[in-house]
């Protein structure tokens, strides 16, 4: 029952308008507090600490940062953080009021694709600080590719939203995100927090997609490597070619490495910088982005192309599928795609 004759809608509007946008909380402060809280939580639950980047398990007898007795102090963290500050910028969740806050860069925008790229307030090359949110829901569908400081390629689908807590942790709030740790793996791990649990990778390419509603399901598709998901203490694992559906049952199905399911990932792929690269490196990129397995018709041809065939110009490739008909003939090669295989042959 309402307390006044005033409609509740108006009351809430008045409250919000009068209070105005909340002053953003410095991301570094929240990150330090959450990190200490997480350590305490894991210490209390006797669990394993995964601090995003290091994934270092606590072994018995190993000292953990004291939290309650001899509490972990924020002050040295602040001092260390101050030395790591790369960017001084205003990070305002609602983009109004207040003074600039010092923050740490955790990612860089590599690519924006879509008609409303400008509407989401990002530019290619822009540094993203810890605590910032990216929402691709503004206007027409837009996709964003980020390069994390940890080395991971992270792509955010249209109508999706995430928050970058640190270079080792992303919170997915809506939609879908794709993570690629690179052909040689990233030097540190990246975890994706979701309302359904935390997804951790083990050198992989995978997509995490939330359902349409807060109470919906979540899907994790693994293209390479493997991932684990911790939900309510239950650990679910999925490996290459598997799709984990997180609902009441938590089932696992098979999924193709290639095809329409991954088309948005390919469309949001950062361009291949051909400068000084060999044809083999180019084909590795094609394979990684499309999921196609490269098969050389003649093994000697592979060796030859790997050592001698370099791009003569600093061309920037667009999407893998667009470049194949142009690039391979220029090297005297032909190709055909059979299912999940890209077969490379000598041109007639």
């Amino acid at each position: 029952m309402n307390r006044t004759d005033k409609p509740e809608t108006d009351e809430i509007r008045d409250l919000l308008v009068e209070a105005g946008p909340p002053q953003p909380i410095p991301a570094a402060d929240l990150a330090a507090i959450k990190s200490a809280a997480r350590r305490e939580f894991l210490a209390q639950s006797g669990s394993t600490i995964f601090e995003g980047q290091s994934m270092t398990p606590i072994v018995e007898g190993q000292s953990v940062t004291p939290i309650i007795e001899g509490r972990f102090s924020y002050r040295p963290v602040l001092a260390i953080a101050a030395t790591l500050i790369l960017v001084l910028t205003a990070v305002w969740q609602f983009r109004t009021g207040g003074s600039p806050i010092a923050t740490t860069t955790v990612a860089t925008v590599e690519l924006l694709r879509g008609e409303s790229a400008a509407a989401i307030g990002l530019e290619v090359g822009q540094k993203i600080s810890a605590g910032e949110e990216i929402d691709t829901a503004a206007g027409a569908p837009t996709m964003v590719a980020l390069r994390m400081a940890s080395g991971h390629s992270v792509r955010l689908h249209a109508n999706s939203k995430l928050r970058l807590d640190s270079d080792g942790r992303i919170q997915l709030e809506r939609g879908a995100v794709y993570v690629d740790s690179g052909p040689n793996g990233a030097p540190s791990s990246l975890e994706i927090g979701t309302p359904h649990g935390t997804v951790r990778e083990i050198g992989t390419q995978y997509e995490v997609r939330l359902g349409d509603d807060d109470d919906g399901t979540m899907r994790v598709r693994v293209r390479e490597g493997s991932v684990s998901l911790n939900r309510s203490g239950e650990i679910f694992a999925a490996s290459r070619g598997e799709e984990l559906t997180i609902d009441k049952s938590g089932g696992v199905d098979r999924v193709a490495f290639t095809g329409a399911d991954w088309s948005w990932v390919i469309a949001a792929a950062p361009a291949f910088d051909a400068d000084g690269q060999t044809l083999a490196a180019y084909l590795t990129w094609v394979s990684r982005e499309t999921g196609l397995e490269i098969v050389w018709d003649d093994p000697d041809l592979k060796i030859d192309m790997s050592t001698h065939s370099a791009f003569s110009t600093a061309a920037t490739m667009v999407t893998p599928e667009e470049t194949l008909p142009t690039i391979l003939p220029a090297f005297g090669l032909d190709y055909r795609i059979d299912g999940n295989v890209l077969r490379v042959t000598r041109a007639d």
Binding site: R3, T4, K6, E8, T9, D10, E11, I12, R13, D14, L15, L16, V17, E18, A19, G20, P21, P22, I25, D29, L30, A32, I33, K34, A36, A37, R38, E40, F41, Q44, S45, S47, I67, I68, R71, F72, S73, Y74, R75, L78, F94, D135, A137, G139, P141, A158, N159, K161, Q171, E173, G193, P195, G197, T198, D212, D214, N230, R231, S232, G233
Partner: protein
């Protein structure tokens, strides 16, 4: 997830529950402490960190008689008092008379013409912002779009790639969630006062 489920989950070592706790309560608690510590950022971090860590350690003793945010705020007040006791000085004089604040019904907030900058007004704004921290990110976003950016429902629907009816329904749920949490916060202040 209900608070009782969240607490049970945390006690069972469920990281999902901890993540929810961390995302939902720590920002609100930070705001709470920041306001009471005269916007001393470094001290706020120390106090909130200490409060949250102790609260996690003592979570099994939380009986659920009050809302979790109420309990956390009480722990935070205690932590602030202890800090100043150790410093042998009085806390910053920013604490509003809790009794007068708690007695204020919601309509007072929305109808009373108060001079800008009063503590009462600031405290009210603090509570609005704390409630925004406490609602789900999706609700927070649509409330901000609708009432802070004044976007029409149609535009919100476009941004969320849902229909206008679904957007209106989402807004209704967001308002309801805001209202419930706001009322809880007010009631918890009343409860605090009666206990103290």
């Amino acid at each position: 997830m209900e608070e009782s489920q969240l607490i049970d989950g945390m006690l069972a070592g469920d990281e999902r529950a901890f993540d929810l706790f961390s995302d939902r309560f720590i920002p609100a608690l930070y705001r709470f402490a920041f306001f009471r510590l005269n916007q001393d950022r470094e001290l706020t971090c120390d106090i909130v960190q200490s409060t949250v860590c102790k609260a996690i350690a003592k979570l099994s003793s939380f009986r659920g008689e009050a809302a979790l945010m109420t309990w956390l705020c009480a722990c935070c007040r205690s932590e602030i008092a202890m800090h100043f006791r150790k410093q042998s000085r009085r806390p910053y004089e920013v604490e509003l008379n809790d009794e007068s604040f708690a007695a204020l019904p919601l309509e007072r907030y929305t109808t009373q013409a108060e001079p800008e900058g009063t503590l009462l007004s600031k405290e009210k704004h603090l509570h609005v912002h704390m409630v925004l921290d406490l609602v789900s990110p999706r609700y927070r976003q649509v409330l901000a779009w609708k009432y802070l950016e004044d976007l029409p429902v149609k535009e919100i629907a476009t941004r969320l790639a849902i229909g206008p009816k679904a957007a209106e329904s989402l807004l209704t749920r967001a308002r309801r969630s805001f209202r419930v949490k706001f009322d809880h916060l007010l009631e918890s202040r009343s409860g605090d006062d009666s206990q103290s």
